[in-house]
Amino acid sequence: MNSQLIPAPDMLGLPAHPLLLLVLLNATLALHWVFVGAVFGGTLIVLHNAVTGRGDAARARLNQAILGFLPFMLSMGVTLGVAPLLFVQVVYGHFFYSANVMMALWWLLIIPLVIGTTYLFYVAKVRLAAGKVLGPFLPAILAGILLVLAMILSGNMTLFQTPSAWESVWRLHGAGFYHGGGMVGRVLFALLGFAALGAMFVMLLGKTGLAYDEQADRAAVEIGLRAAPMCMGLQIAAGILLVIFLPSEQRKAVFDFRWVSLFSVLAIGCLAGSLLLFVKARRSPTLSTLILPMAVYVLGLIMIGFARDGIRRAALAPHFQLGELAIHPQWGPFALFLAMMVVAAGLVTALLHLARQTD
């Protein structure tokens, strides 16, 4: 392609070493996935209950409990997505913005879709709270919207690491949608993981007694424990296929026995470990036996983030190396951020503590 089409990196340079920025990017991205994953997977479970649990009061109450939490989970997921959004702009902005513009209409569509989803969750919950039946229609619509959202996100992230596709996507001047470059595999991989996360979220609701009553709690743990290992197994399979069908220079990066390979192995290891621990926990699903596999899974998400970022760098290698970015560290402002992070962690802890002060 015409190399003039790729913008230059920003003239102001990086405000910290790229490694620091990438660590923050992937740590916060994993948190983002935990919450949007819970929303997507939670919606699937609501749909599942609506289809197979007709007339089952406990499952209707479980659905009401899940739906009650989803607007909050989505708000958190969206807000947690802002941090990786900041860091991805700092490191890869010149590719990222280009892809944003090329898919502008889709990119902008994310906001109304997210807002619509939030209010539809309320609508579904209010229906159940009023004692009405929640059929599969509304949950299916919600799952569909979330699927479209994930596709837009993946399309954009794949497009930005594939400059060779830019000109053809730009033929539609902002209305183009990119689904090449391995994007379909990426979405599938992500969504299987999200389904697993939703199962874990529902399990947690049940285990912490937040699903209204004992029967609903039990249904939550049961469904979650059945779904989570299954989704993880499928996700591992999808991950292996994803790597096999990557464009060749990216696949080579996975098999070159360097950082990307290490992170890929660790990622698969974490997913498999979490799967086994969940299977084992089936016999006595207590809160403490379930927390461990969940933690292992989240660790796996961070590993996926790093592997994914390494593959992205391999894809961009002909056009861009991290080393070419000038670094002008801003330690003072970084210290401000760290301090605020500590304060925020303290405040959230205090909030959760306060919320339990029932006389």
Binding site: L12, L85, N100, V101, I111, I115, T118, A344, V348, A355
Partner: protein, 443 residues
């Protein structure tokens, strides 16, 4: 420059950003004030064991704080999406300068969201003092987000002593000359909005007991009164903005002058209305009265935002980058591709490959095609072509090609809101040829 340009028909990029930013700013601003109102009123209600007031506050927290807040948070993210599409070079520089500030603000967003949901959903379920403490945490965290974002926004019009990559650049940029007046102003307006909305909610809810009404109305008035300070803060802000911008407001650009005057008038009416109501001991304001107060706060504030945006023209970051993404001499040493100096030598199209028809080189284009490409690179940021946002065709109805051509030499001098032409003489010829096809006398 450098990036593909998304041409949103009719509205253009600026209106796109405005359409998302305006509702966001209002809701976000309001929620800061609302959290103070709730925390203050709840503390008193707890002390007095006043369950009726608590019941009203609970309604207020759910209907006017939580429900719109969710919308506010998501439109806030939407501003990122819109700016990255409409103005990538500007947002790129902003993020490279301010990422730690934004990241710090982000930590407080997390606190905000957790606090707001807990505040609403633990009402009457936990110890009242603990509940009130959640309210205070929300008030503090949302205020911190307001302060942080305003340091970043106010920089764009008054960068003060900031120089790219000079030491302490972040701090100089953040504590810029208009930081204090605009931060205080936003804070006071947020209190006023929260107060006025409380009045409206009471006017709409017939069931609120008289005693609650009186207490809450008194509190609402007291929250609106500080907006009086805007009558001092606005002129303070005015005194520190660039001279060019001051001239726009003093008559150089009629719309700007009108909006500034209207903003001052609205804040005066808001303050006057509040004082009058307090003096007359009006503890039971009507829907109309409350709506008028909200209207004054809203319009006054919108005028201020409009002036802030307009007064920055032709820059997106004052003195550093034009709305088109071209940098000034301040960026020249760093910006190898698209500073004004480089573009004047090599041509604006040298840094704007995306505006050419795909697969064709400059040499293959007719003068008119080349002119249209130049238009997209150098003018589209502020002008639609035929109709809509600041459309150019109606502006040049009777101009000839020669008039157009000579206009391009001095466009910045004639209209200080426009940047100087960022290209070569040959590009000016091409642009004039293209624009002539738009006029009545064309060709």
């Amino acid at each position: 420059m450098e990036y593909p340009i998304f041409d949103l028909p009719f509205f253009g990029g600026s209106l796109l950003i405005a359409a998302i930013a305006i509702p966001h700013v209002f809701i976000a601003q309001f929620s800061v004030g609302a959290s103070f109102l709730l925390a203050l009123a709840e503390r008193r209600a707890n002390r007095e064991g006043d369950s009726e007031t608590r019941a009203f506050l609970k309604t207020y927290a759910f209907t006017v704080l939580l429900v719109p807040y969710v919308l506010g948070a998501m439109t806030g993210v939407g501003i990122w999406f819109a700016t990255s599409v409409a103005s990538p070079r500007a947002i790129s520089s902003m993020i490279h300068l301010f990422v730690w500030g934004w990241a710090a603000e982000w930590t407080m967003f997390i606190v905000d969201i957790v606090a707001i949901y807990l505040y609403v959903y633990t009402w009457d379920r936990i110890r009242p003092s603990a509940h009130n403490a959640i309210g205070w945490i929300l008030a503090v965290s949302s205020t911190v987000t307001l302060v942080l974002i305003n340091g970043i926004l106010s920089f764009m019009l008054t960068p003060g002593s900031w120089e790219p990559l000079a030491p302490y650049g972040f701090w100089k940029a953040f504590f810029n000359p208009s930081f204090w007046p605009t931060t205080l102003m936003r804070f006071f307006v947020s209190l006023a909005l929260a107060g006025a909305v409380a009045l409206l909610l009471m006017a709409l809810m017939r069931t609120v007991p008289a005693a609650v009404r009186e207490k809450m109305t008194r509190l609402a008035y007291r929250m609106m009164l500080p907006a009086l300070a805007c009558l001092v803060l606005l002129p303070w802000a005015f005194s520190v903005i660039p001279e060019r911008s001051q001239q726009f407001i003093q008559g150089g650009a009629i719309a700007m002058t009108l909006f500034f005057a209207m903003g001052m008038a609205c804040f005066s009416l808001l303050a006057l209305g509040t004082i009058l109501a307090m003096v007359r001991r009006e503890w039971n304001p009507s829907v109309l009265g409350a709506s008028l107060l909200i209207f004054f706060a809203f319009v006054g504030y919108a005028c201020f935002e409009f002036v802030r945006e307009g007064a920055r023209k032709p820059y997106v970051i004052e003195g550093f980058m034009y709305s088109t993404g071209v940098t000034t001499e301040k960026g020249q040493a760093l910006d190898k591709r698209a500073s004004l100096a480089v573009l004047r030598e090599k041509g604006v199209l040298s840094a704007a490959s995306w505006v050419l028809p795909l697969g064709r080189t400059i040499a293959e284009l007719t003068p008119e095609e080349k002119g249209y490409a130049v238009f997209k690179a150098a003018c589209l940021a502020c002008h639609q072509v035929y109709a809509g946002y600041n459309a150019v065709q109606p502006l040049i109805g009777g101009w000839t090609r020669e008039t157009l051509r000579s206009y391009l030499d001095t466009m910045h001098e004639q209209r200080p809101m426009m940047p100087p032409f960022p290209g070569t003489d040959a590009e000016k010829d091409a642009l004039a040829a293209y624009m002539a096809t738009l006029t009545r006398r064309g060709k």
